[in-house]
């Protein structure tokens, strides 16, 4: 099944960097997801909302990574598949449901694992990134998470051209790396 036009439009808006589109996705499917999640996995409303938020973040991340283009299902099916995977993993982790490993593996490719695994080291990097402030914080996030090209970052942040952003990004990354290594008191981690 091809993506519906309305859904394709949302996807295009996200690809163009329209952040409001993510709110549209959230509003469009939130109620249905919460109901579905509660019915199928016995979650309460808050827990279902939390899972849905993670699902939408994963959706955004995949869309920016160009992974969603390859999908043949509807946006709703895609979102709910992420949600199902996240719900099963959580229930399994909290021993509230015994889940077959194969079931967990199914569709696992649509859930970016790294995004949700909150190791202490990642938290430290995150804190140091915030400590760095602007413009490094925005440049690094726009480049690595939002996957904007250098010229798009230049346009967004008001730089002269992509070469200036590229140099700045490299400086920012090296500064962050220095801070991280100092924090862990190691040459490399």
């Amino acid at each position: 099944m091809r993506l519906e036009k309305k859904e394709q439009d949302i996807l295009e808006r996200i690809k163009k960097g329209d952040e409001n589109a993510i709110i549209v996705v959230y509003d469009n499917y939130r109620k249905e997801f919460i109901q579905w999640c509660s019915n199928n996995y016995g979650t309460d409303e808050d827990e279902a909302a939390d899972l849905f938020q993670d699902s939408v973040v994963a959706f955004y991340y995949n869309a920016r990574n160009q992974r969603l283009n390859e999908l043949t299902s509807s946006l709703k099916t895609y979102l709910f598949a992420i949600g199902k995977n996240l719900a099963l993993k959580r229930l399994n982790r909290e021993s509230r449901m015994v889940v077959d490993h194969d079931v967990l593996e199914l569709n696992s490719s649509i859930v970016p694992e790294d995004l949700f695994e909150n190791s202490e080291k990642k938290k430290v990097v995150s804190a140091l990134l915030n400590e760095m402030g602007e413009p490094c914080r925005s440049i690094l996030k726009l480049f690595y998470f939002d996957r904007f090209a250098m010229d798009a970052i230049a346009a967004r942040l008001g730089y002269k051209n992509e070469h200036v952003v590229k140099s700045q990004k490299l400086r920012c990354f090296n500064t962050l790396k220095k801070m991280v290594l100092e924090r862990f008191e190691q040459d490399e981690i």
């Binding site: 973040v57 790294d114 990097v125 995150s126 690094l140 996030k141």
Partner: protein, 239 residues
């Protein structure tokens, strides 16, 4: 040395951003496996990459959490008004029942005409963190004692017409018309709450069975030809 690091950075970026395919990817992984120093450098690079993504994902999720709170507030707000509407219907029904029985003073009329003024202080766009917003949230939920307690903690010299009006509303809802009257009288003519304040002053007199003051107040409202004119005329006719 620095140039080498920059080259590596470009290579690492290409791998981490899924821009490597086939032969190039295989060669890169082979190189990593054979070079311990490069492998360690990559591990650090990858951790920073993951940390940036973790941070950005958290930030995006916070936006959605804020959206959820807004939608939940909206739902509560809608629920509140459904309850208020139900109470209004009950009050109207009670009025017709009470009318058939011998009345005591103006209490039956008061029940008919009184209803708390809705919160119009930007009810859907308020953030959850600002103290000023919390008081209106209490009010919106019908938590009138908390509303009064909250207002009383404020510096009275900084009270505005809005503050006086909603403090008066809270007192009224708590059955303290005397205190409500003092607050309503503070609302200035220039305020959007002046006209409703005049109506609620009339309702205070109605509750206190002060016929002369009530009639005088109602005539004042009728004379202004504002949005409460019709209601005031109706109440005056029913006295």
């Amino acid at each position: 040395m620095m140039e080498q690091q920059d080259d590596n950075a470009e290579l690492f970026d290409r791998y981490l951003l899924d821009q490597m395919e086939g032969e190039e990817k295989a060669q890169f992984l082979e190189k990593l496996g054979a070079n311990d120093r490069l492998s360690k450098e990559f591990e650090t690079y990858q951790l920073i990459f993951q940390g940036i993504n973790y941070s950005a994902a958290r930030e995006l999720k916070e936006k959605l959490v804020a959206r959820e709170e807004k939608l939940a507030t909206k739902a509560n707000y809608s629920f509140f008004w459904k309850i208020a509407a139900a109470i209004g219907l009950i009050a109207v029904a009670a009025f017709f029942v009470i009318r058939l029985l011998p009345g005591e003073g103006y209490q039956e009329l008061y029940l008919t005409y009184y209803e708390p003024y809705p919160n119009i202080v930007n009810p859907l766009d308020r953030s959850a963190t600002v103290a000023n917003d919390d008081v209106y949230r209490f009010y919106e939920r019908g938590q009138y004692q908390q509303t009064v307690d909250y207002f009383q903690q404020w510096d009275a010299s900084k009270f505005t017409d809005t503050t006086y009006f909603y403090l008066g509303q809270a007192y009224m809802a708590l059955g303290k018309p005397g205190l409500a009257l003092d607050e309503f009288k503070e609302v200035q003519v220039s305020s959007i709450f002046f006209e409703p304040s005049q109506w609620y002053i009339a309702l205070v007199y109605l509750q206190q069975n002060k016929k002369n003051q009530l009639e005088q107040q109602l005539r004042k409202i009728i004379g202004k030809s504002g949005s409460y004119k019709k209601r005031a005329q109706e109440l005056l006719d029913n006295l």
